[in-house]
């Protein structure tokens, strides 16, 4: 390439730096740039001037709603990713929890079949293991909380304070007339009703007290007729396995 031809190339460095080369010239110029130290030096010299151009713009304040929308999208991404991870963990670990499924599958409660829930419960046990935590209360008592996501957006939390328990649900649908929520505790193969019946408030939160959590393997919730029942008449929609 003659000196004259090269000078013409050098003239194009500024246009290239500004992104103003015509589309057909860009590839050709890149090839030249890759092997031309002088043009590289020129580009390196001019590049900060181009990078400085946005700073010369009169500053505007973005509307606060823009950040709100952006962060909503970001947090939705995080939630979706977390859900994907949980789903993958469920799939991966469900198979290794066959024993628990069999245990639950063989559970005989007033003639009801619990098998449809067995797989879900096995998965939930694994999730629960990841979210359970133990804290000291400062007054000598120990509080162990087990929080387990349930199907249909419900989150169940069992708080065990020295054997006495509280079951807190969020995201519960409103009940039809004549129905209440009834909790059950499973100890081995025995299932017993929890005394205190409960209903969700307007925001879908529902809480009941569990008198005795000693030896309880799982806490479950069903929808039952007002007044409750001695044995479950519907399949549980909440299942919280507890670490014995």
């Amino acid at each position: 390439m003659s000196a004259d031809q090269h000078d013409r190339r050098l003239e194009e460095v500024a246009a290239f730096a500004l992104g103003a080369l015509d589309a057909a010239q860009i590839e050709d110029f890149r090839e030249h740039l890759a092997g031309c130290k002088r043009c590289q030096d020129e580009l390196n010299w001019l590049a900060p001037a181009v990078r400085a151009l946005p700073e010369a713009v009169e500053q505007q304040s973005p509307p606060p709603e823009l950040k709100v929308r952006l962060m909503e999208e970001v947090r939705a991404d995080v939630a979706a990713a977390a859900e994907q991870t949980r789903a993958a963990e469920r799939r991966e670990r469900a198979s290794s929890r066959k024993g628990f499924r069999e245990w639950l599958g063989g559970l005989d409660i007033g003639g009801l079949t619990w098998k449809p829930l067995a797989g879900m419960a096995a998965v939930i046990l694994i999730v629960a293991a990841g979210v359970g935590y133990l804290v000291g209360n400062g007054d000598g008592t120990n509080v162990h909380t087990t929080e387990v996501p349930q199907p249909n957006g419900i989150v169940a939390e069992v708080i065990n304070e020295d054997g006495k328990g509280e079951l807190r649900l969020t995201g519960v649908e409103q009940l039809p007339k004549g129905k209440v929520l009834e909790a059950w505790v499973a100890r081995g193969e025995a299932v017993e009703p929890v005394e205190m019946l409960f209903t969700p408030d307007e925001e879908g939160n529902a809480t009941t007290q569990i008198e005795d959590l000693e030896g309880v393997d799982a806490v479950m919730v069903t929808r039952e007729p007002t007044g409750g029942t001695k044995v479950p008449t519907t399949e549980p929609f909440v299942e919280v396995p507890l670490e014995s």
Partner: protein, 194 residues
Amino acid sequence: MTPVRREKAERLADEELMPWIAKKDPEAFEVFYDRHGGAGYSLAYRILGDRSAAEDCIQEAFISIWRSGARFDRTRGSVRSWTLSIVRNRAIDALRSKSGRAPKLTFDDDAILESRPADEQTEKEVLAAETAVEIRGALSQLPSEQSKVIQLAYFGGFSQSEIAGMLNVPLGTVKGRMRLGLEKIRGELAEGMA
């Protein structure tokens, strides 16, 4: 990875923040937006001339950064210039799409522009020049014909041939004005750090 607390994120330099964003930490991303969202929005508004379009541009650009945060390469320059180049490309693409012009910009060009090793980067030179004020001063001191071609190219996304046609001047004249204009801005930046 335990999420970074906001107070800690605020103390991190941009380059330290990016790995947290790559690991999908929303607190880190919020701090990142707080630092560069305003400059990005100002640039998008300058290019698009419309608040709603600028908002869309920023939403798209920052979400693309969030979703591909791992793509930032600290050897290629500062986080800020990388961010603003993404915003600029999005805005120019939107402008071209609106006006029926074919998209021309590619990330590759930015990669070349940012391709010097970090220790050679003169980003600090830019910052040392009190950025906005110095640069606006440098731009305003340019002869109007030089300022015009630079602004048409950078903020308008026009190619040198398009600019030559718009201004009805030879292509060589446009090239020369671009080069002279950038040389002067670059000289001002160098003086500012001296």
